[in-house]
Symmetry: C2
Subunit: 297 residues, 2 copies
């Protein structure tokens, strides 16, 4: 069964196409710019706005100073490289790709300019010495939804962002591993739990921050778990006891809601969707989102 654009956890819609791939009237490419804001939040704030090329419309996220600039956003109140809506990989947290922070070439150390390369449509950081282009792409966060005795395993975060809030064990996928291997690794690191992945459950993109969550259904190989270095507690929760008011990220809210819906319906599906914050809401409000392109398989 396929369901398009199901809205979860929200009462008002966001723009249904924040990023338009083409213009049907002109036949040429056009883009809808994405703007962020200068709004501090509990764990992070956006400090600049951005636009892609050939803007036709500007969508205001919150009140903001609009400066067409490369990169989706920067974060000012969290440590450099931190991550507004995602877990960490191991202990350190990573940036989703703040391309406007690319001032120098990683290869030769030359200063960069920010221009549209020949044959492309998007501003990139280009080395003024060796002409290397610095591409920034979304990062994948991989994790496990562990089913055990009709309960699911959650970890209480002992690190920022979202210190003290509950999450599925998850973290950034590394080069050299598959998503399944990364999810198994992160589960071991955060919950000291040895698991086997059973099936893919969800892929949830968060375009604003350049993250994609890939969550697998998994089961414990042995009935043992305990907090790893990044967790203060690990606990199995019955589905009607999941602490939705104390979850860490919108992606966890969506994943767990979809899971509960599937369990109630008696059939576990694979879910794809794109999570977008509702305009006018605080970035720290993990329940203020729309789920777009919701497709099931």
């Amino acid at each position: 069964m396929l369901k398009n654009r199901q809205i979860l956890g929200c009462s008002s819609g966001f723009v249904s196409h924040r990023w338009k791939p083409y213009s049907t009237t002109s036949g040429s490419l056009s883009f809808l710019s994405i703007s962020t804001c200068s709004n501090p939040s509990l764990s992070y704030s956006f400090s600049s706005s951005s636009s892609t090329l050939l803007p036709t419309t500007t969508t205001t996220w919150l009140s903001s100073t609009h400066r067409p600039r490369f990169g989706a956003f920067s974060m000012s109140s969290a440590p450099s490289g931190s991550n507004p809506d995602g877990p960490s990989s191991s202990v350190a947290v990573q940036s989703a790709g703040n391309a406007h922070e690319i001032n120098f070439c990683q290869s030769c150390g030359g200063p960069t300019k920010h221009e549209i390369p020949d044959g492309e449509e998007k501003i990139r950081a280009i080395c003024t010495v060796c002409e290397r282009i610095a591409y920034e792409n979304p990062k994948m966060v991989v994790g496990c939804l562990i089913e055990h005795d009709n309960k699911v395993l959650l970890c209480k975060r002992k690190i920022q962002p979202s210190y003290g809030l509950w999450t599925l064990p998850a973290g950034y996928m590394e080069i050299g591993e598959s998503a399944a291997e990364g999810a198994i690794r992160e589960t071991w690191e955060e919950a000291c739990a040895e698991v086997e992945v059973v099936s893919p459950f969800s892929q949830l993109d968060i375009p604003l921050i350049g993250q994609t969550y890939v969550i697998f259904l998994a089961r414990l190989k042995t009935p043992h778990f305990s907090p790893g270095p990044e967790s203060s507690e690990c606990q199995l929760f019955a589905l009607d006891e999941i602490p939705f008011d104390s979850l860490s990220f919108s992606s966890m809210v969506v994943t767990l809601k979809l899971y509960i819906e599937d369990v109630k319906a008696g059939k576990l599906n694979f879910h794809y969707g794109s999570i977008n914050k509702r305009p006018g809401t605080s970035p720290s409000d993990i329940h203020a989102y729309t789920l777009e392109y919701h497709l099931q398989s």
Copy 2:
């Protein structure tokens, strides 16, 4: 139905766990290193080897000079930043993350050192001036498998790598867009086709080169398509006419084989899997792979 570790398109197995998330004997983390080779191929070659931390075993990919070093590989015969087993994003091609090429900090321009940061287990490039850590993560390639009149749409590549070979329209996902939006955009760019995504069809990881392919089933909104700047031809193929000997990438072989199997079985599923080259085979042999962790939903 779930199928674990189905092997497709190969007769011999590769290591089933190239990357071990933990050691059950010691209880501490251990890793299986990944080695690449100095073997030129048609469109690219690997020029160095790599290992992750705490190596317990070394898997030789082909004959190679083993130098423990951060990063999966480098490519020597293709232009800097090119991509051995993936399509391009727009015209320029991107690197999957050659971390050993990170010599300077993108933020302050300071020289980097390659060490294990405190609290982590993997060597990273760390700025010796501002101490910023340069994380490198897998890149997502998004595309569409377009069904039309019991045929699928393929594009003949007019760019390297895999010039002159056939591919599904696909390219690197950008920050600020969802995977579905990226797949729609790439289809427009490569095939001038206006499509609607119908359902997620596959996620195929290629750990060696740090890429993940996400392919959606899609349909033409209008029955029009024509080659974009990166394609020399676009053509609908009946399933028994797909040019498997002239496809561009292993990911396309796997996706199309799974699709044909599903069509024959009368049910389209979502497929997850990890594509690994068989040891002792040429990197340019797109049929020399194993599909691991094959899970369906």
